[in-house]
């Protein structure tokens, strides 16, 4: 019996164990080692100690540019995305007719996102014939303003990406909708008795009750937007003056275009450190201002 049990156990666990060792734990350790080497695939790796990390921090201005671009993008895209996702969810929660149809419409963009939509957005932002400028042009003409160059303008390229990111608020919206459905009705009734209007109820009931969701949405959004790659690769690459050289795009170039495997690995570990820092801050901040109701904590 016991022997049979053990055999079953290994059969059940082996696919996972192989995957875990070969494609998770093993690569993680291998990557850490690679980050201390100089390696270009064609000659064997050479141990260089902290040289890659040192180069990143002291000798590579582009990495700071890439970090800045990524931070800039995340700093605006994530809070704005969370805000609009919450607003749409609140609107949809008002006993709207055909709620599921509205929900489908707002979620559809998230479903189709990827390379194909990157191509579409590149065209929408085309300065000459793009949809964005075609619609804006009559208004801009009133004030004698020139056509915005969007992805071709170093100052507008990142804002264009931020605008585009708002198109993908559907996932957040669904999480907020679920959160709103958990807000007890009696809280609103109590607030109404106390004479609270729309704003009062929003400020004193909805927002405090949604803090766990807001928090979740902000941190997941931050972690996600730090890894923006596909859109950048498809739409503008590095961009004019490296204005859209995002962190993972730069990492990809270093590792797979110039085959600077060691340097790319070091970059990946710095990215991991950033994500880890966000997670740690998340947990320490959560205690302070997130309101958890008993069973949700």
């Amino acid at each position: 019996m016991a022997k049979e049990h053990r055999r079953d156990f290994w059969l059940f666990l082996s696919p996972w164990l192989i995957g875990f060792l070969l494609f998770a734990l093993g690569p993680i350790l291998f990557s850490l080692w690679l980050s201390f080497t100089d390696y270009n695939i064609f000659k064997s790796p050479e141990w260089v100690g902290l040289a890659n990390y040192k180069e990143m921090f002291t000798d590579d201005p582009l990495i700071w540019k890439a970090l800045w671009n990524t931070l800039f993008y995340a700093f605006f895209a994530v809070p704005l995305g969370t805000f609009f996702a919450m607003m749409v969810a609140i609107l949809l929660n008002q006993r709207v007719k055909g709620q599921s149809i509205w929900r489908t419409i707002f979620y559809l963009p998230t479903v189709v996102s990827g390379v194909a939509m990157g191509v579409v957005w590149r065209w929408i932002f085309d300065p000459e014939v793009g949809l964005a400028n075609t619609i804006l042009r009559p208004f801009l003409k009133l004030f004698n303003l020139p056509d915005p160059q969007w992805l071709l303008d170093p100052n507008l390229a990142k804002p264009a990406y931020i605008l585009m990111s708002l198109w993908g608020i559907g996932g957040g919206m669904i999480i907020f909708l679920a959160g709103l459905q958990n807000v007890p009705k009696h809280l609103y009734e109590a607030a109404e008795i106390d004479g609270a209007g729309i704003w009062g109820k929003f400020r004193n009931v909805t927002v405090p009750m949604l803090t766990p969701v807001i928090f979740f949405s902000l941190t997941m959004g931050l972690i996600g937007s730090f890894q923006i790659f596909t859109q950048a690769y498809v739409m503008s690459g590095r961009g004019v003056d490296n204005s859209t050289l995002f962190y993972v795009l730069y990492l990809f170039e270093q590792a797979f275009r110039y085959f600077r495997i060691g340097y790319g690995s070091a970059m990946a570990w710095v990215l991991f450190a950033i994500i880890l820092a966000i997670t740690v801050i998340k947990f320490s901040l959560a205690k302070r201002w997130v309101h958890y109701t008993g069973d949700e904590a």
Partner: protein
């Protein structure tokens, strides 16, 4: 709610919905336009004349069929295998007793937190040493073993009452029969949700196929599309037709599985991206 508030509410929702849908409508509309009308000002939303040939031209210009088959083959294979490996390990973690079980599970959870950006370089080197670069093996095998759904399925399996299995055990059923005859049938909703999400994720997958493919015959749809984009930049009617073709499968999967999406997002919180 009074009428004035209702009007404002529906106005806001309509404006939002219009913003959400316009890029998609614009894409479909352009994909059906005559090249001469693509850049017409003011833009026309309903193409006149409708030009279906854009689609056949796009499919001739690039090996769309090949990309499509590659994407479908890879996404389906990886999805089926991944759901299976996730279910097996989830069963082991939820129902089998073995030393270090919870420590191993914790280790698994910790690796989920590590961004794929870290593992992609070493896995690439591993496959390169094995000579697998630019092969289906490179596109499929790392995906098969990533038991991403283990956590979700384990949580679900824990909610299944043990009594059923105990009864089966008394009747002499081993783990295999319990797994296939009791646990899996009872977990259909969770398995369906995981399947839908895994398929969508694989269909969209971009950076990995971009790294491990070189020849045009091995490229998946998203990677092939980027190559096409450079070659035909400016031929927006063809690019839009190709884009429409690329998103049709996800739209179909989405429309027929909406409830799984809502459930999956609530469970995983990842919003499907």
């Amino acid at each position: 709610m009074n009428t004035k508030k209702k009007i404002i509410l529906y106005l806001l929702l309509t404006a939002g919905a219009a913003l959400m849908l316009s890029p998609l409508l614009w894409m479909v509309s352009t994909s059906l336009k005559d090249p001469a009308n693509v850049m017409k000002m003011p833009p026309e939303w309903i193409p006149d004349p409708v030009r279906i040939e854009n689609y056949s031209e796009a499919c001739q210009a690039i090996p769309m069929g090949r990309f499509y088959l590659n994407s479908l083959f890879i996404a389906i294979t990886v999805t089926v295998c991944q759901v299976m490996t996730s279910a097996m390990s989830a069963y082991a973690f939820a129902r089998m007793k073995f030393p270090l079980r919870d420590k191993m599970f914790f280790g698994y959870l910790a690796t989920l937190m590590i961004p794929a950006t870290i593992t992609m370089i070493p896995v690439f080197i591993l496959l390169q040493q094995l000579g697998w670069i630019d092969s289906y093996k490179a596109l499929i095998i790392p995906g098969i073993f990533s038991a991403y759904g283990t956590f979700m399925l384990r949580q679900f399996f824990m909610t299944i009452p043990v009594d059923l299995e105990n009864a089966a055990k008394i009747d002499g059923c081993g783990h295999f029969r319990i797994f296939f005859n009791i646990v899996l049938p009872l977990s259909k909703p969770a398995l369906a949700t995981l399947t839908v999400f895994t398929f969508m994720g694989n269909w969209r997958s971009f950076i990995w196929p971009l790294i491990v493919t070189q020849s045009i015959e091995k490229k998946t749809l998203p990677v092939g599309l980027t190559a096409f984009q450079g070659q035909y930049s400016g031929d927006w009617h063809l690019l839009m037709a190709a884009s429409v073709v690329a998103i049709v499968p996800v739209v179909i999967v989405f429309i027929f599985n909406q409830k799984h999406f809502v459930k999956g997002i609530k469970l995983s919180g990842f919003g499907g991206t």
